[in-house]
Amino acid sequence: MTLTQTILARKAGLPSVTPGQLIKAKVDLVLGNDITAPVAIREMETHGLRVSDPDKIALVLDHFTPNKDIASAAQCAAVRRFAKKNRIKHFYDVGQMGIEHVLLPELGLAAPGELIIGADSHTCTYGGLGAFAAGVGSTDMAAGMASGECWLRVPEAIKVTLAGSLRPYVTGKDIILSLIGNLGVDGARYMSLEFFGAESLSIDDRLTVANMAIECGAKNGIFPADGVTLGYLKGRTDREFVTDRPDPGAVYAREVTVRLDALEPTVARPHLPSNVAPASALSGVKIDQAVIGSCTNGRISDLRAAAEILRGRKVANGVRCIVIPGSQSVMLDAVREGLIEVFLEAGAAVSTPTCGPCLGGHMGILSEGEVCVSTTNRNFVGRMGHPQSYIYLASPSVAAASAVTGTITSPEAVV
């Protein structure tokens, strides 16, 4: 069995599983946010369902918060009421919250071998820590909260071997963008992406890679836990967890190798994440806005990478650079390390944690014809605002370098 299949078999209480098999598995955590949880809550109430274990639910108000309008305030109020009524332990409101997929790993709510479902497509992020994590719909979320279980179809896997190590200014974001470019947006449809050879990658990089597994259609992306994982989890959780390995004879639908030392800063052009090109090849593209943040790239190492470029430099005239730390603790670390000072002195704006502009919510919506380089995860038509606006997906280093020059720029070109 593959790594994913091994976890699913254990959670289903079965000795083994095979691709295509339908199973019912125990869930360790059910996640929802201010967009998807209200629908699940309403469905639960309609069917008179009760929460089975309030400690296995995480509710994070992160998408349109701090409330951007009356409708989003009402959504948050509904989640808040539900959390209070059901004594949900892991409920995070403005002041404690972060972008869900930045916050949960930080708080130790995802661990190797666990099964996590979330009514948010980027729930696959937790595969970076060796968990099986997949995005589901609101009905599945409601069912997960009520029963503590979820039905799943066992996926096949694509084995991705990461060979060598990354060059300076090349990051997890560049790995996943180039892989999506290689596989296409449906190249892993329904399958697992299982990553091996990642010993040299930080947890932040692994979370970024797993986060965008969905962008090539995958059900989940996963890294087996190793010493780096255990070091990250130390002090974050005292739950017992299992570090699984795939069987030596595991069968994969496909195997690909990514040569890390051959990668260069990579950018996905409008309007698909698979539409990739080297940053250096796009130096003629003028930008109006740079966004640094999101569940893909809102962690402290992302802010450090952006600050390294912006320190002592200025955001180009006519460019709006918006920095969004992914959580309260990322924000606090950034303050203590002097990164916020660097951003402000460079002429960037810094926001409280929110998903905000990534899905066209608030805090940096694009007008007609505008171009944005963004460390987020989707560049579909209209994703960040006007249908005739253009999003280039990139790493924080590329976004910061582009903010400085006003055109898409590889970091090596400015340092």
């Binding site: 339908l22 019912k24 069917h47 369902l49 039905w151």
Partner: protein, 510 residues
Amino acid sequence: MKIYQYGDNVDTDVIIPARFLNESDPAALAKHCMEDIDPAFAGTVKPGDLIIAGENFGCGSSREHAPLAIKASGIGAVVAKSFARIFFRNAVNTGLTILECPAAVDAIGENADVKVDTVTGTVAVDGVAFKAQPIPPFIHEIIRAGGLLASLAADQKKTASYDIVLLPGDGIGPEITQAARTVMERAAELYGFGLRFTEQLIGGRALDTCGLPLPHETLESCKRSDAVFLGAVGGPQWDNAPVRPEKGLLELREGLNLYNNLRPVKLWNRLAGRRRITAGDWEDYLIVRELTGGLYFGAKGRRPGGSEAYDTCVYSAEEIDRILRFAFEAANQRRKKLTSVDKANVLETSRLWRERAELMSEAFPDVELAHMLVDNAAMQIILNPAQFDVIVTENTFGDILSDEAGAAAGSVGLMPSASLGGRGTPGVFEPIHGSAPELAGKDAANPLASILSAAMLLRYGLDEPKAADAIERAVGEALDGGARTADIAEAGENVVGTKEMTRRVLDALR
């Protein structure tokens, strides 16, 4: 039976176009199902018809509207070579039968005779059977139940079980408690949940047995329960006891931190005009009384010499706010009118009460807040009770007004009550009437207040509103059918006893 055949990659945008997604009613969605590739579909499809499709059926967006529309159109099953991942989940979750069977799809010609057996997972084409990808039993169950949540709801109801402590007490207490228990048991059976009852001592019987009106064991048992049902306490034989049986009630309220007393006042149709002193022909309101603060719990005593006594009325903003919040929320669920009763022209606690009510009303813009002085409220309950929706007031005023309201509505024997604490602590549910020692053991007491208290227990204590509604409906039907105990019978009407009245309610319960 007709078959509708489509090719590969039928996406959710053609199954139900996005322009119709401002609807979520399945029947309305069904009217536009498949409209963009097969305009005739919605008009011709009949229950039990089949959709036959190629690869990747249901690709595209994650909208659950797609399987909902197909299901509501009457389609019995979709047979395809393969299904898109999210459509597959959504079909199962919304209870649409789907079968993956590429060989059958290839074999189906234009006028083929196709039969689908969902139990065995076979598709028969012109008499030749093809085996579809097997569907595990739990998915059969989900589809049979009409979707994932409906199936879970059925499971949860089957397994839900609650612990209820019964405190029958004194006088008629045991008889009316038995009536309430019988009705709750029947309602639980009908609405699919379990009840476990434990009986404990309180009041006079507790005094006689162990010298305390609320034995330690009783309180502990109540704390562990989901809800507490109380019959009645007290009687003349304990008039001279060093501790009065009623003290058990106060200790119970304190022990469970019950700060909120609810009394619905309702005019039962068939009793309108009888024994009633209120004006108008309709009233249905809820009195919310603060239960653990104010005069009854403040410092009290005698000055040296004993000829001067005092009681003090103390309220904190926190105590006021929690009862007001409950009342505002209750009003918000009802007719959105809240009357806060105080004596703000004289009492400082009342002035604080009024300030807090004004502040809180900003958080409930839909609820109309009115203040009323308690003396006026006492009159209005008689003169114009139809004006009230929810009344909220402090302990002493609430004590007096709620008895007045019950008596004025002509039906003390029909008045239930609930005393509630915070979330997660059990509430106490009891009829407002006393232990009526003169009726004890004679099968003469009216059990309806007790039965209606049981309904409140199910509603507020166990969150089983459907069972609670059913009990209240059954009481209404029993009264409509002419069942009368002595306390509510007019001259010449046939009078029934406690047991017969209970039987009439049980007969009407469904």
